[in-house]
Symmetry: none
Amino acid sequence: MPQSRKPDSSRRSERSRRAIYDAALALVGEVGYTRTTIEGIAARAGVGKQTIYRWWPSKAAVLLEAFLDVAEQAARGEHELPDTGDLEQDLKLVLRATVDELNSPVYDAPARALAAESVVDPALAARFVEKVLEPQLELYVHRLRGAQDVGQASPGVDPRIALELLVGPLAHRWLLRTLPLTHEYADRVVEYALHGLAPRP
Amino acid sequence: MPQSRKPDSSRRSERSRRAIYDAALALVGEVGYTRTTIEGIAARAGVGKQTIYRWWPSKAAVLLEAFLDVAEQAARGEHELPDTGDLEQDLKLVLRATVDELNSPVYDAPARALAAESVVDPALAARFVEKVLEPQLELYVHRLRGAQDVGQASPGVDPRIALELLVGPLAHRWLLRTLPLTHEYADRVVEYALHGLAPRP
Amino acid sequence: MPQSRKPDSSRRSERSRRAIYDAALALVGEVGYTRTTIEGIAARAGVGKQTIYRWWPSKAAVLLEAFLDVAEQAARGEHELPDTGDLEQDLKLVLRATVDELNSPVYDAPARALAAESVVDPALAARFVEKVLEPQLELYVHRLRGAQDVGQASPGVDPRIALELLVGPLAHRWLLRTLPLTHEYADRVVEYALHGLAPRP
Amino acid sequence: MPQSRKPDSSRRSERSRRAIYDAALALVGEVGYTRTTIEGIAARAGVGKQTIYRWWPSKAAVLLEAFLDVAEQAARGEHELPDTGDLEQDLKLVLRATVDELNSPVYDAPARALAAESVVDPALAARFVEKVLEPQLELYVHRLRGAQDVGQASPGVDPRIALELLVGPLAHRWLLRTLPLTHEYADRVVEYALHGLAPRP
DNA sequence: TCCTAAGCGAGACGGTACGTCCCGTCTTTAG
DNA sequence: CTAAAGACGGGACGTACCGTCTCGCTTAGGA
């Protein structure tokens, strides 16, 4: 991991930055993360290798920023989960949307690459979680608190843990491809999580 | 990915196979998966590189077999989850044990590496899931069916999905290291999953 | 260079020996000496590698024997240079025939390979010279002695050196391909060698 | 034979070039051409393998350039054969010097290797002949022409062929080590070549 | 308006690992 | 009980990238 003297970011070429994002995402989509190389990104972006090494510490860091860049543009205004007053319906809606996102090819390739790399690189994981994951999860926390306020969720439940009952199963299927990731599955997860596996009295 | 003409596995050197397993696991533990190389494994095992390329298609495949080898020896006789008649206590026991396993250094390094690689390599994922994951998950299915028979779990619940409410959250924390993976967390997950997030009437 | 305990040559398989000769010559002709391998010879001959290592110390040794084998069959009865009484005509005839041989593809490939290897491997060179070269050169010595007896060559001349004035130039052109190796050239060499470069008084 | 896109020779590292020459010549002298490897040269020169593959197509090509490099330095000003007016003495002097050179260990190892490789690799041979051999032979042509002008050599003789009567025999003995290469032999060759093998009238 | 220092494209460099080929030895198996 | 078949430890091959470096060339901004 390089970088000794900090470069002057005010002189940074915006053009190159964008070209690198585009090249990185395109290559990861086309040939996969493993066969994407820094040399390849530089060549495709029409950029010197040093321009990458100057601004990013690793291939994964480039991809994380590129991914964030498109994610931010896509997430215009989505700063809240829907709240129709019906928690179950709202959650089903959200998890179905998440399923669709995880199944979409443009999202899949870079997200998988970043997740895989994070599993094995704690430093990247920290940034991935902070920038990508936590902002999403915070939305659940907020929605669940609202549900507790109106008596649709048990007051004793910790929302930060509760959300993992919803998100964890989806992530599990997506990451390891154990079984298909469908809307039906999303619905089932919401139902089981809300009403429990034990029989109601 | 090599391999053209199939070698004769009856002539295979058992000694080399074991040495390769040992070297692979040792190196992954010592220097991490990424810095573990096939050359390094061969050198450490006192084996020619070709002997590795002859029998395995990739570094990850070597590690998967090595991991399976120790996992099989460790799993002597554990073909069932405990069944004391109290589902909640049994599940807490099992998830706590899983937490301990995921937190143990010897398990962590190879398992993480295999999980990370599986995220990005569907072929490996299929073998990983089939050989490592599914046998474990099947135990949950069996235990949950038992619970349904004695009225401790809702009869309408699909055990294959139900188990993911338990296992998914743990996997999520472990893989991305979002928050600490503790016994308390395991207990909470079991409680929430069994009794639901919605208030009981 | 291997060979510890001598094998029993009486039990040797004649069939394998011939197959190895054929394979070696064929491969050298087809793909060149450098790309001819012992494994390749064995495979082509339908023979185990060990059968080659048992009887020959090196690839070059195999080729030398194979070459000798065909050379012997070709050289049926040619134990003397022609002697018509006219030394110059006889020599021109012989050197022209040598030129033709050196230019013939079937002779060229193995002979070049052996010569090249001999340049760099004194042990092989000794065997190559003894078995291939010297028997040929001895013919020149004999013919030149005859010429001295009848007054067609100076009595003071050492035939062993004299022959090199004839053979050396041809070998030179053949080995390094400096200039074309033609009948005219052979004639010129004979004339210059016999009558000298200095003006006759 | 590699090389796809041409490197920019103006950026070439002179330091590496020289180190590679030195390493190649040293290794060929110490362990012989066959056991000299490109990896070995690179390691000894403190250079990456790619730096060799970038600039040369083969081990032999490296050695040829290295050999030329020292040969050029050694040949400072030797652009003519001696001309005392006595052709025979001059030639004896030159051939004796050639004998000494061929017998000197520092010259022998690389020159043999290049000759051997040239026998079997026409492309290398062409470069070897052009760069090493022909410049030497041209000196003979020039000296023999001079001799013709002053009546010491027959005017009808082709100098390009004549010189091979002198050089061919030496090369023959050197390459195949048939018989010792001595000053006496050199003298005999000059005498026979100049005055012919046939009796003078 | 020029000077100078930075970012930039390009790509050579010392390295490391790749996956392949073949070496020469050793072991197994089928005739 | 011989030899084919071929697995084995080893080492070099030629390639692909790594991360560093040096080269000219813009391209500002301060003098």
